[in-house]
Symmetry: C2
DNA sequence: TTAACTTGTCCTGTATTGGGCAAATATACA
DNA sequence: TGTATATTTGCCCAATACAGGACAAGTTAA
């Protein structure tokens, strides 16, 4: 999800992986892997990528986090149920805070 | 969430941590930590616990997975949004399968 | 006071990250 | 068509993080 987004953004900006790689000071293989979900995107690059692509860091971070959640539950048949339970927990913790 | 459940179940069965610990062949400190969410519950114990407490392994597994999800998103202000995005991804992947 | 539970610290082993490098593929284009 | 450029893929590796506990000491509850 973050990978696809990054690819979309890069293409919409007409940038080459080579250019993005230079910006992040990594090689193109790593960029390719990020965009294809072969490697997790390192959190530390989110701000640079957001700046480069002109989107908010929050947007990228949300997708980054969604990827992490997805990794946890993918292929599990109780995935949706588990997420629902976790969601309720989040909500109830938030209420406590107030 | 799994921790609380395990504690509930144990108490409803009138078992001591010592007894459960013996069953799993670990010491009571570890049991205590599982029940208090100080340590993740090892997946490999779920079946034994389910048997011991007379509940389905699936039920415990769902809570176990919910814990994992919760760990990923807790304290993040985009938690709910991220989960929602991940949920959509799960659903769309499932549709693909058919 | 004793048994039950919790907490802090420590340790070992395994898994995961964050990459690089080289080779293989795909794409564009003259 | 050939060839250069872009991208992907496979394999590798070091560093770090995390799991799965043990143990001892501290607390709590009967």
């Amino acid at each position: 999800m973050l990978g696809e987004k990054l690819k979309e953004l890069r293409e919409s900006k007409r940038l080459l992986q080579r250019q993005v790689a230079a910006e992040l000071k990594v090689n193109t293989a790593y960029i390719s892997k990020m965009e294809n979900n072969d490697k997790p995107v390192s959190k530390s690059y989110l701000s640079k990528l957001a700046l480069l692509y002109g989107v908010s860091e929050k947007e990228l971070y949300t997708l980054w986090l969604a990827d992490k959640v997805y990794d946890v539950v993918k292929d599990q048949d109780v995935a949706l149920k588990a997420m629902e339970v976790a969601e309720e927990e989040i909500k109830s913790k938030r209420k406590e805070k107030n």
